[in-house]
Symmetry: C2
Subunit: 196 residues, 2 copies
């Protein structure tokens, strides 16, 4: 039997992740049956579970990948940009939203998952906090409120947005709301001009 | 058979609502079985369903009652106060949270419920909007952002808070976050003092 190259393994793994992402987004975690995962990835269950121990591990790999991508966007553009992406302006809004909704749902209903997810959740908090600290250094952030409070504030709004979208409520008028959120963590110009 | 007085009927209805509220909060909608509702209210299923057509109607009556109470608090003290109550400072925080969580969950998962609830949801939006308009008249509200945007903003934060609590995340550090939310819809003193 020929040895399978690392490149080939990576490509397979990618194929599984991309296909199952669409599948989870469409059917939800419970609805993404093994048969549907096979259809969505174009691979057999044998091939899929050669790369991932079970459906849970496959979903976690996807959710981790999305959390890492969110942390990257946070580092470069801030958490409000992540929210704008969720509203539909971003590169893969539906993808992100799919795993994020599922993570939120399981956090609410599954204490074991909550414990497993705690560490990944800290990643996003840390990225947000670091970004805010850099913004403060650059003089763009308000300096009368603790960075931890601003971080919790932005995360709370993100959760509200995810919940709002999960309820299927209209989101096309939320752009100005996110402007307000962004402005409320910024240094105010009038204030700045009064400083010595 | 003696005629049952209206007072007696009202008292019964109250007894059922109070008992089942505790039951729903403790076991969730699905977990609140008829047997448990009997135990919690101290009444037989016959008595309970004499007053309410079914479990769904009973839950809706409770959720409507809570929504009306929330609208009252909003009218008197604003939506941020509702959020502070959810954090535990209020009169019946656990009660409110119980029905609110269940409403949120069903809004996400049950399109039929979503349609039925739309009108009650508008109640809270209207109360919030009216309160903000009065605050603007009184000169307490920022006047550079549309009242509808401020209303959506506060509702988004409320939903984030409900979701946060539903996930069992620590909430004891959210007081300063709500201060920030409140301040971000207020007229800024420095700005005000610059006006002619």
């Amino acid at each position: 039997m020929p040895r399978v190259s690392q490149d080939h393994l990576d490509a397979r793994r990618r194929q599984i992740l991309d296909g199952s992402r669409v599948c989870f987004a469409r059917y939800g975690y419970e609805g993404a049956t093994v048969r549907r995962l096979e259809e969505a990835t174009g691979l057999s269950r044998g091939a899929i579970f050669h790369h991932f121990r079970d459906k849970e591990s496959l979903f976690l790999a996807l959710a981790e990948e999305d959390a890492a991508r969110m942390a990257d966007v946070v580092a470069a553009q801030g958490l409000v940009q992540v929210m704008r992406d969720l509203l539909g302006g971003g590169e893969h809004p539906a993808d992100w939203l799919g795993t994020r909704l599922e993570v939120s749902r399981r956090l609410r209903t599954d204490p074991e998952f909550r414990a497993r997810w705690a560490e990944r959740s800290r990643q996003l908090t840390d990225a947000t906090r670091q970004r805010l600290l850099r913004q403060r250094e650059a003089g763009n952030l308000r300096d009368d409120v603790d960075v931890d409070v601003l971080t919790s504030y932005l995360e709370l709004v993100l959760e509200g947005l995810v919940s709002h979208l999960a309820m299927g409520l209209p989101a096309d008028d939320l752009g100005p709301v996110l402007d307000l959120v962004e402005e409320s963590v910024r240094r105010h110009r009038v204030r700045a001009s009064l400083e010595p």
